[in-house]
């Protein structure tokens, strides 16, 4: 019995159906962590990308190193680092927020690359034409650069969103009660891991396939006429 739901281990199917509501509670946590983490990743990644376009090497070089470091080290250790080290500096966050922050920081390294590639794909000629037409920098970004960058950026961001979704189970290690955590708890109680773990796998599969399909739809409806994407 968990969250008021009892399980029925008489047959695998009955077992699966009976624990589905419990896993549903974990699914919500999983989705919340993904959404929060991705919002952080999109924001911090943008800051990194813009800093890496700065003129001074005193800025671009350290930022490049930080991005590289975030990208090349395991999420798990970054998560432990934040979880155990932040409180030593007086920053005590709920486990969920620590988890979302770790996800966000790791993925900000990826999103910053996505932004950078998207911006760099816009040739110098476009900037020069905008200057020659006397558009302001803000107008150039809004009307010329960003509309051309978005169709390149969005699909790549979408792929990282799916990827982050699949990384959220790691948060269970810092006591975030996500789907995988619940499946393990159920397994510990019933001594039957196959069904809960398989069910979690299946739910992830449905989620990621659904997300991928959604990304394809978004890709198709994005206004990108005239833009050569390759």
């Amino acid at each position: 019995m968990m969250y008021g739901f009892a399980w029925d281990t008489s047959t695998p199917l009955a077992y699966a159906i009976s624990i589905l509501p419990i896993l549903g509670i974990g699914l919500i946590v999983t989705l919340e962590a993904t959404v929060c983490g991705f919002a952080i990743a999109m924001g911090v990644g943008l800051v990194f990308a813009l800093l890496r376009r700065a003129k001074s090497r005193l800025i671009t070089w350290p930022v490049g190193l930080i991005v590289e470091f975030l990208r090349d080290t395991p999420l798990l250790i970054q998560l432990f680092f934040l979880f155990y080290v932040l409180p030593q500096f007086g920053i005590v966050l709920p486990a969920f927020l620590t988890g979302a922050l770790a996800l966000g920081l790791q993925y900000s390294a990826y999103t910053s690359e996505v932004y950078r590639a998207g911006l760099e794909a816009i040739g110098r000629g476009q900037w020069e034409a905008a200057t020659a037409l006397n558009l302001t920098r803000a107008q150039t970004y809004r009307d010329v650069v960003i509309p051309q960058a978005i169709p390149r950026i969005v699909p790549a961001l979408g792929n990282y969103l799916v990827s982050m979704l699949k990384d959220t189970p790691v948060l269970s290690v810092i006591t975030v009660v996500d789907m995988l955590n619940l499946a393990n708890l159920i397994g510990d109680r019933t001594f039957e891991y196959l069904v809960p773990l398989s069910l979690v796998g299946l739910i992830f599969l449905i989620l990621t396939l659904g997300c991928s399909a959604l990304i394809h739809v978004i890709e198709r409806v994005l206004p990108k006429r005239g833009i050569a994407l390759r």
Binding site: Q126, A129, T131, A132, Q148, G226, I227, A228
Partner: protein, 254 residues
């Protein structure tokens, strides 16, 4: 009458490379001037400096009496953005590679800056745009995207786009160099018709010698960052005085 463009003692460097040294050059309002010369001689740089795409380090440059450098200006351009924008409002440019905005229709390419920068209403801007597209013979393509047009058509749209800002000075940076030979004619035709505009000052960098001879009031032969020889096209093409001009013309005219 004061010249509309005046370079005096302008020096332009790219790192260690000096592209223009103590450059003096004047253009009168309404004058059509062609810059010819071997590639890398600094012709395009002159246009790019005028368009504020490149800064220069020394000397003074004025456009309609307005100096490019501000007395208290900072940064590579030694001027505030506001000041540069004021200068740019008098200048338009047509690029070698067209540089149309690929995500906008032909019409939107032409009205974008008049609406955003000049603050015209959309209707007014569209009326003007259609007139200009008519002039370049492409009004029927106004809802197409640049990628659906040939290079020659794209360049004609780019000319309409530059004209929509009503510049006093229009710069052409090798406008036909990126085109297939059979498409060069239609673009030159449009530029030729502009050459009849009395008030429009035109600076043209081109390798089309016959065309230069036909439309220019003055031809300047550039070499190594300096004007080696300049004068009326007839004289430059038929009896160049400088050996380097003769050499160059012999090599390009064959």
């Amino acid at each position: 009458m004061n010249p509309i463009i005046r370079f005096s003692n302008v020096t332009k460097r790219f790192g260690a490379l000096t592209v223009l040294r103590d450059f003096d050059f004047e253009v009168k309002q309404g004058e059509k001037v062609t810059l010819i010369g071997p590639s890398g001689s600094g012709k395009s740089t002159v246009l790019r400096i005028l368009m504020t795409l490149e800064p220069f380090q020394e000397g003074t440059l004025t456009l309609a009496g307005m100096p490019y450098h501000e007395p208290d200006g900072h940064g590579p351009f030694k001027a505030r953005e506001k000041h540069l924008r004021q200068i740019r409002s008098h200048v338009g440019m047509v690029f070698q590679s067209f540089n149309l905005f690929p995500h906008m229709t032909v019409l939107r390419n032409v009205i974008e800056a008049p609406v955003r920068v000049l603050g015209l209403s959309r209707n007014e801007a569209e009326c003007r745009a259609v007139d200009l597209l008519n002039m370049v013979g492409l009004a029927d393509k106004k809802d197409h995207y640049p990628s659906q047009l040939s290079g020659g058509q794209q360049q004609r749209v780019a000319i309409a786009r530059a004209l929509a800002m009503r510049p006093r000075v229009l710069l052409f940076d090798e406008p036909t160099s990126a085109l297939d030979p059979q498409l060069v004619g239609e673009v030159l035709g449009v530029i030729r018709s502009l050459a009849h505009e009395h008030d429009l000052t035109m600076l043209l960098v081109t390798h089309e010698m016959r065309f230069a001879r036909e439309v220019s009031d003055r031809v300047c032969f550039f070499d190594k960052g300096q004007i080696v020889e300049q004068g009326e096209p007839e004289r430059i093409f038929s009896s160049p005085e400088q050996p380097r001009t003769r050499e160059f013309l012999a090599s390009v005219l064959g």
